[in-house]
């Protein structure tokens, strides 16, 4: 039997996907495929087109290659547009005059950017944003421009604005409607989006209708608006929506929708025999779909129709989740509450910059839609609830209120039916994921590889993981918490094994409880646990290989391979003489010098071979190591307190020094920072520390588990009105309990948040001694304190150790690749560009 000739007009994302589906079908051998494209490239990823501005190449965006098509026997014709359909003779005709007969014709012509009929729109630097070639033109024009304007504040318009901004242009967005993304967002969401976009420096003008584009005076062009105002710009980018590319309809009487697009039925068939349309060029029920997922569904339907199946296209969900200018935005279903009687729940937080709105049915029972700006993690859940018409919980507002005590209300993935489509780009249902998990594909990566789920727009990634984890839990498979491939234990379990069995070295631990050789995860973790309990010198031969480079060389590794040096300055108190000494050492070794947030001095740029000499001077001047390199107690910050301050209630500096001297060098699951404030004005910022102490009229208040930095957390009050001895007792217990039970690299803040029973439980252990562990924890701490040593002093006294502080073991010398430039009176590492010059200078 002769093969059927399938002609695919258009090789965009949907046209290409159709070809892939057809090739994958068991009946693939019965078809001969030929595809035409007016572009010079085969299909590429238009969804992630903006990546072209951030370094991706056309090859990165490509969805296929010529070799692949040739390999699969797919014929392709590039740079030749199909301009008419000779329906009676079942042929297509191209611009170059080529006639190609078909048995089945698939129209996947996509859409074209709509350019409003503004006089002046044809000027050289008035461009559109659709193809890779368009992007090339924008790059060229952008390089000759200072100001750029995007006409259209929809989804694509904002992507385009990001591109202009990325090129360093002063960027404006002009929107005809009164708000950005009017189709997807309600007023509240749109307002927050606008604020966030403006905060990035993009200027937004809404309610503006461009009348004409004329020559400018300060810039290349001037946009005159109908309200009499104007804006000058060098570059204009039209992004005012897309229109289905359906002009082929005129050549053969194909039916078109009221708003354009080839009319299709549920089988994706047009009004003519053997002609199908898929993707953005197709109009189903007079509706065109400007997303890839519905296009892919249509492609699947046509393959089914051609191969004897009966799949149908029955509309598509237009929910979207995306990142625009780095801002998370999502809209689900009827996001703007157009449904008769629809009601809303809204939550707006101007501080956290989050907006969440639920649109529910009049009776409050069903979720119709949602808008999320700033935090879109719930997108997948809301979409599923909407699509599957799941009953709302009793208090739907709980689903958008932040995680206050009592927690967010959610339904969880267990409530989803098996038919729920988790990945709509690739039509992967919950049921199919679960059955894969049951048959042994237990990782998210494995599921992705097997089903392509999560590899389209990526919007379902969170939900996908939840489904996999929930199914694993259901199967009784423990979700692995192993620290690494060498130990099937959590850090807490490793700590218990080491403590209870009195294990003293890594090889002992590996032989008894592990396998393989260890790695850069388990070695430092076990090294740290050994130090927390037994407090051996960390550079002993049996421990040295466990240490991260910072601990191994007792300094903080910097980007160029040199180290920084931080001596301890307990409580931030230092005599002028010692401060001068620090300056002299820094000067002698030409070290870049900076004051740290922990009230110390950091000296940068010390070569490995210089470290001992630097520390010799520092130790002689009475300094000790500051443990800035270790996951250990770092600093105890203090305000000047009652000694000097008019408002001071107690001696915060004195207490801070006492606390720092007590706990210095304690190695722990992560670094520890403390502070002591002399009154409730809290100048030492103790409530952002792992341990914070504040003086009050009634004694010391003890705060714990605060954090600054990447994930700020306000500390919790553990106990108040304490005397010094009681406070120290509680801190002893608190720290040792943390060292025993926290996960690897888990700060106290996260440790507490994950603790069952939370703060009340922690109080019961530390203050009420409910577990009867108090004395044991205090004894553990006493042992660590009793074995404290300044690691640098020990190292300097040990000639064998000092041998390690050489650049080369076989000859003297230093790393010749280091290069520096002077900035603001100090040296810093040269950048790659500067290095070229600096190295030339060195050679001279």
């Amino acid at each position: 039997m002769a093969k059927q000739r399938v002609v695919v007009v258009g090789n965009g994302m949907v046209g290409h996907r159709f070809i892939e589906y057809l090739l994958e079908s068991p009946a693939a051998g019965q078809f001969e495929i030929i595809t035409f494209s007016e572009e010079s490239r085969l299909a590429y990823d238009r969804v992630h087109l903006s990546a072209y501005f951030t370094g991706s190449t056309a090859a990165d965006l490509a969805l296929t290659t010529r070799e692949y098509y040739r390999d699969k026997g797919v014929n392709f014709v590039l740079n030749d547009k199909v301009i008419s359909i000779d329906e009676p003779n079942k042929c297509v005709v191209t611009q170059s005059g080529r006639r190609e007969p078909y048995d089945k014709l698939i129209l996947a012509t996509g859409s074209y950017p709509f350019v409003p009929p503004v006089p002046g729109k044809e000027k050289e630097h008035c461009l559109v944003y659709r193809t890779i070639d368009d992007l090339g033109r924008i790059k060229v024009s952008g390089s000759q421009s200072k100001v750029g304007v995007v006409i259209g504040g929809g989804l694509l318009g904002l992507e385009a604005a990001n591109a202009l901004k990325g090129m360093g242009l002063e960027t404006h967005v002009i929107e005809f409607a009164s708000r950005l993304m009017a189709v997807q967002l309600d007023d509240g969401g749109s307002k927050l989006l606008r604020r966030k976009i403006e905060a990035l420096g993009v200027k937004v003008h809404t309610g503006k209708n461009t009348r004409e584009i004329v020559e400018g005076t300060t810039c290349r062009y001037r946009l005159n608006f109908t309200d009499g105002s104007f804006l000058e710009t060098d570059l204009v980018l039209f992004s005012a929506g897309i229109r289905p590319q359906d002009e082929l309809a005129l050549t053969c009487n194909l039916g078109v929708g009221t708003r354009g697009g080839f009319t299709i039925n549920n089988n994706c068939k047009t009004s003519e025999q053997d002609i199908y349309a898929i993707g953005e060029c197709a109009a189903w029920n007079n509706q065109c779909f400007g997303l890839v997922a519905p296009g892919y569904q249509m492609a699947r339907v046509v393959v089914s129709q051609l191969t004897g199946g009966s799949e149908q296209f029955l509309g598509a969900d237009m929910s979207t989740k995306l990142k625009l200018l780095g801002i998370d935005v999502a809209s689900v279903g009827d996001s703007t509450a157009r449904t008769q009687g629809a009601r809303t729940y809204c939550y707006n937080d101007d501080f956290a910059e989050q907006y969440k709105c639920l649109v529910v049915s009049e009776d409050g029972k069903l979720l119709l839609g949602a808008v999320l700006v700033g935090d879109t993690e719930d997108f997948g859940n809301f979409q599923q609830m909407m699509l599957n018409k799941m009953a709302l919980p009793a208090n739907p507002q709980g689903m958008i209120l932040p995680g206050i005590e009592g927690g967010k209300v959610g339904l969880g993935v267990d409530a989803l039916p098996d038919t729920a489509q988790i990945c709509s780009c690739h039509s992967v249902s919950k049921g199919s994921i679960c059955s894969l998990v049951q048959s042994g594909t237990t990782s998210v990566a494995g599921i992705k590889a097997a089903t392509k789920a999560g590899t389209g727009c990526g919007g379902c990634a969170v939900l996908l993981k939840q489904v996999v984890d929930a199914e694993l839990t259901k199967l009784g498979v423990e979700v692995s918490n192993s620290i690494c491939e060498h130990f099937a234990y959590t850090r807490r379990e490793l700590a218990d094994l080491i403590r209870v069995n009195r294990i003293r070295t890594f090889p002992e631990m590996l032989n008894a409880h592990g396998k393989g050789h260890g790695c850069d995860i388990c070695k430092p973790a076990i090294g740290s646990i050994l130090a927390s309990f037994w407090n051996d010198y960390v550079l002993k031969p049996e421990h040295v290989g466990l240490q991260d480079t910072n601990d191994a060389f007792l300094g903080n590794l910097q980007k160029d391979g040199t180290y920084s040096v931080v001596p301890r300055i307990a409580g931030g108190e230092i005599t002028p003489d010692k401060l001068i000494m620090l300056g002299q050492v820094a000067k002698a070794f030409n070290l870049y010098t900076k004051i740290t947030g922990g009230q110390r001095v950091d000296l940068f740029g010390a070569r490995i071979d210089q470290l001992p000499a630097i520390w010799k001077l520092l130790v002689e001047a009475g300094f000790e190591t500051g443990h800035a390199y270790g996951k250990a107690v770092r600093t105890v910050k203090s305000c000047v307190g009652s000694t000097w301050c008019r408002y001071g209630v107690d001696d915060s500096v004195g207490f801070a020094i006492a606390i720092e001297e007590r706990y210095k060098g304690l190695r722990s699951p992560h670094k520890l920072k403390f502070a002591v404030s002399g009154c409730t004005r809290e100048c030492a910022e103790a409530q952002s520390k792992d341990v914070g102490v504040i003086a009050t009229e009634h004694g010391w208040n003890l705060y714990v588990c605060g954090n600054g930095g990447m994930r700020p957390r306000h500390a919790d009050l553990l106990a108040s009105g304490l005397d010094r001895a009681t406070l120290i007792k509680y801190v002893d217990r608190f720290l040792m309990f943390y060292c025993r039970t926290a996960d690897r690299l888990q700060r106290t803040s996260v440790w507490l948040e994950n603790m069952e029973g939370g703060l009340d439980y922690l109080k019961s252990v530390v203050v009420d001694d409910k577990l009867g562990l108090g004395a044991e924890l205090e004894a553990g701490m006493a042992a660590v304190i009793a074995t404290y040593q300044c690691e640098w002093l020990t190292t300097l006294e040990n000639p064998e150790q000092l041998k390690r502080f050489r650049q080369f073991v076989n000859c003297p010398g230093k790393d010749q690749d280091l290069a520096y430039v002077v900035e603001r009176g100090q040296r810093r590492p040269a950048t790659a560009e500067e290095r070229k010059i600096a190295l030339v200078n060195l050679e001279e």
């Binding site: 060498h486 050789h517 260890g518 850069d520 290989g545």
Partner: protein, 116 residues
């Protein structure tokens, strides 16, 4: 410091190595200085030699990484950004397009030698 015997070049004494960790040595190849990171897991075990330059962090630091295993491969983790390099081949496990030079080694009369 570098004595040539056939194409085995002596780099340093066995005693200069640090068990369970790495050290750096300087040799000359093709008239140019070359930093070599030398690793040894156990006292009598084999010695591995890689270029000391971390091509990802762009600094001479590989000798200061933690050694260990990933599956059946022995690796060193760069102390800068923690990519793993195969001690035998120099291949970067995270990025197959990255590879650092690796040398064969042997112990000869208490000296560590590289095959150049």
């Amino acid at each position: 410091m570098n004595a040539i015997s056939s194409n085995w070049v002596t780099v340093c004494s066995e005693d200069d190595l640090v068990c369970g960790s790495g050290v750096c040595a300087l040799i000359e190849t093709g008239g140019k200085p070359q930093q070599v990171a030398l690793f040894r897991e156990t006292a009598a075990g084999p010695v591995y030699a890689l270029d000391n330059h971390d091509p990802i962090g762009n600094a001479n630091v590989l000798s200061r990484g933690i050694i260990g295993s990933q599956g059946d491969k022995l690796v060193v983790a760069s102390p800068l950004y923690k990519q793993h390099f195969d001690l035998q081949t120099g291949e970067c496990l995270e990025d197959k397009t990255v590879k650092v030079p690796a040398w064969k080694t042997r112990i000869h009369e208490g000296q560590v030698q590289l095959k150049i």
